[in-house]
């Protein structure tokens, strides 16, 4: 036990000092945040300037109404979001108007223009011409406005009273509400689920890969320079194995704690929603399950590998297995009750990620949590047992990589 601690401490301190660790500590969350938040931020960028939009209305009946509707869109400082310019000249044909409008847009005088083509009494065709293809938010705003205007006009023509028209055109918005224990209700926000699940799962994956990679590299080093022989003549293989897993887990824990602190402080600063940390304890437990499970696999595999190249090859295969839960995240968010999700919650390779996800989506039946946790613990025990056997023989076999049959023979040996 004492030697296990000595090995663990050595592995921990020597790895904490490496550049790889520092990089994975700071770069991993930075990259994830960048990839996760940046597109959302860009899409939701709050506009600060009023846009000049031209209107070419061949029917001549929409412009005034449209201007009124559009004036409801305001910027944050209460300035109008759009200023509409009527481009329909009296005596020009449509081609000429379009050409001159295009020029205005290219010169930057106009942000873009809306072309309303009246093809007959009821059919209406509209195009939004813009320097960049389609700012979807502008298009959304104008689509809504134009449809409302058109509906108003048609209804007015049919003699419907303005108060009824108004009540129809007020849209109902559906708010998603998640029911939790104790009758509390909380807003279930896609962003929250995304952050608390996707990010945790990716962090878990990255952490397993970076520390597992470090473990394999250090084992390969010890094997190739026969340090392993000095180690094995100083402590038992089991002590060495446990020490390594212990050191590596401490390393993982350090990362998680630092990341959590950063996360909580970001939440405190309002950058990410505080709801992300609602299920921190069960998530943390499954995080550890996943980490120990995969670390033990890495130890077993690392002891078979005899060269750096082989190590890289095997690590890349394992990373494919690790990516699977990430790929399943979106379908699982969309359909958290499917049979597949229930099955994957019980498979030890995917259970940690899927359970982290499900804790965030909604309450999980108690029996399912217990079953999954029990399966996880048994699997970890089994993997550690198998890895320890492979480790005991594998660390001393040099040269050729052992065949599967040889490994099975190792497992059978007492």
């Amino acid at each position: 036990m004492k030697k296990t601690l000595i090995v663990g401490k050595w592995e921990y301190i020597e790895k904490v000092k490496t550049k790889t660790f520092l990089i994975s500590l700071f770069l991993t969350p930075a990259i994830i945040i960048l990839f996760a938040v940046l597109p959302t931020l860009l899409a939701n960028q709050i506009e600060t300037t009023t846009k000049a939009i031209g209107i070419i209305d061949t029917s001549g009946i929409y412009f005034r109404e449209l201007r009124e509707k559009v004036s409801q869109y305001k910027l944050e400082d209460n300035q109008p979001n759009y200023v509409l310019v009527n481009l329909a000249g009296a005596n020009k044909n449509i081609g000429e108007i379009k050409n001159s409008s295009d020029e205005l847009v290219l010169l930057g005088k106009l942000e873009g223009y809306l072309l309303i083509l009246n093809g007959g009494t009821d059919s209406l065709k509209a195009e939004f011409c813009d320097k960049n293809t389609a700012n979807f938010r502008d298009i959304d705003n104008f689509t809504n406005a134009l449809n409302n205007v058109r509906a108003d006009l048609i209804l007015t023509k049919e003699g419907v009273s303005p108060s009824i028209i108004k009540s129809i055109s007020d849209k109902i918005k559906i708010n998603p509400i998640k029911i939790e224990k104790g009758n509390t209700e909380s807003k279930s926000d896609f962003l929250v689920i995304f952050f608390s699940s996707f990010v945790f799962i990716i962090l878990l994956m990255m952490m397993i890969l970076s520390s597992g990679g470090m473990l394999i590299r250090s084992l390969v080093e010890e094997k190739s320079n026969r340090l392993i022989e000095i180690l094995i003549s100083s402590c038992t293989p089991d002590e060495l194995l446990m020490g390594k897993v212990f050191g590596l887990s401490s390393l993982g824990l350090t990362q998680v704690i630092i990341w959590s602190l950063v996360g909580i402080s970001l939440a405190g600063a309002g950058v990410i929603p505080i709801e992300v940390f609602n299920n921190l304890v069960p998530i943390f437990i499954y995080f550890l399950f996943g980490f120990v499970f995969y670390s033990a696999i890495f130890v077993g595999i690392g002891s078979i590998v005899t060269s750096e190249q082989e190590a890289q090859q095997i690590t890349s295969y394992l990373s494919l297995v690790l990516v699977l839960p990430v790929a399943l995240t979106l379908p699982a968010i969309e359909n958290p009750d499917s049979l597949l999700v229930h099955i994957l919650s019980l498979v030890p390779f995917t259970a940690p990620s899927i359970m982290i996800l499900r804790f965030n989506i909604g309450p999980i039946p108690g029996w399912e949590v217990i079953l999954s946790a029990v399966i996880m613990i048994i699997s970890i025990y089994f993997v550690v047992f198998v890895s320890a056997k492979i480790f005991r023989i594998g660390i001393l076999s040099y040269g050729k990589k052992p065949s599967l049959r040889e490994i099975i023979n190792w497992l059978k040996s007492e």
Partner: protein, 297 residues
């Protein structure tokens, strides 16, 4: 005393060590000698319980070698290497701690040994900044720092310059007088000849010849002479008294036929060549090694 009895180690269809027995006593250096691939390293690994023997019994001070002997064993493997990115002092302390030394003792001993091997100035350097010889000194320190009762050294001198070889030899000899049990594994016969009291030749996993150095030499030292001369010594080879000759341009080691007296041989050649030096010698361990291995091959 380390006692190895009927040790056999098989790997699938290869028998790396085949039924060997020997004992290593304190106060003597035991030399396990053999050509490359003879089974020396496997013999050591099974002795140290790093790998399990197929059969045989190994006892150290009358007890089987188990985990409790970890702290009494010092081992220098043949292939060298350390944690390249780590600091010298950290690596030394780590291995000392694994041999159950307290942190303070580890630091104290590290100091003593770094000074003894004249590399205390390197203690804060990273391993991969060190020269090969200095890395080897660190490995030697790791093998001996915890004052082991049983010391097993696989090729301890390879890679050292003559000055450092002398340094290590002196340390080993001081260990002998302090009663350690030392097993030396090498194919440098001149070193083995100077250091070892007991010799065990191994080839193809089998014992070829063993005993005290003096006895082995006596058995082999039948009729050897060494001769230095001016001028060509080609005629020596055709001399009927010569059984075997190692001839160089003006120096030769000759094994005479059994009934030939060295003095008569000298008389028969003084007229043909200008003899500068003539002596009756014991065969070198090198010679014995080559002969013995050739016979068994």
């Amino acid at each position: 005393m380390l006692l190895v009895e009927n040790l056999t180690k098989k790997f699938k269809d290869v028998t790396a060590v085949n039924n060997i027995s020997f004992k290593v006593e304190s106060g003597k250096i035991f030399g396990l000698l053999g050509p490359n691939g003879a089974g020396k390293t496997t013999a050591i690994r099974t002795t140290l319980n790093i790998i399990k023997p197929t059969s045989g019994k190994i006892t150290f001070e009358n007890k089987p070698i188990t985990d409790e002997f970890f702290n009494a064993i010092g081992y220098l493997p043949e292939e060298r290497g350390l944690y390249k990115k780590s600091k010298v002092i950290d690596v030394i302390i780590y291995f000392a701690r694994l041999k159950n030394l307290s942190y303070n003792d580890a630091v104290k001993q590290a100091d003593i040994w770094l000074n003894k091997l004249e590399i205390n100035n390197l203690r804060h350097k990273k391993i991969d900044e060190l020269s090969k010889g200095n890395q080897q000194k660190i490995q030697f320190i790791i093998a001996v720092l915890h004052n082991p009762k049983l010391l097993i050294l696989d090729e301890p001198f390879s890679g050292f310059d003559p000055i450092n070889q002398q340094l290590i030899k002196d340390i080993l000899l001081s260990f002998v007088s302090s009663g350690k049990i030392i097993m030396l594994c090498t194919h440098q016969m001149d070193t083995a000849e100077k250091l070892c009291n007991d010799i065990f030749f191994i080839n193809n996993g089998k014992e070829v010849c063993s005993g005290s150095l003096a006895d082995i030499k006596k058995n082999f030292g039948k009729n050897h002479i060494k001769i230095e001369f001016d001028g060509g010594g080609e005629f020596l080879e055709s001399n009927p008294a010569v059984l075997h000759i190692d001839a160089y341009s003006n120096y030769a080691e000759i094994e005479l036929k059994e009934k030939i007296q060295p003095y008569d041989f000298l008389k028969s050649i003084v007229e043909k060549v200008k003899v500068k030096h003539f002596s009756v010698i014991e065969p070198t361990l090198n010679k014995i090694f080559i002969d013995v291995i050739k016979q068994t091959n």
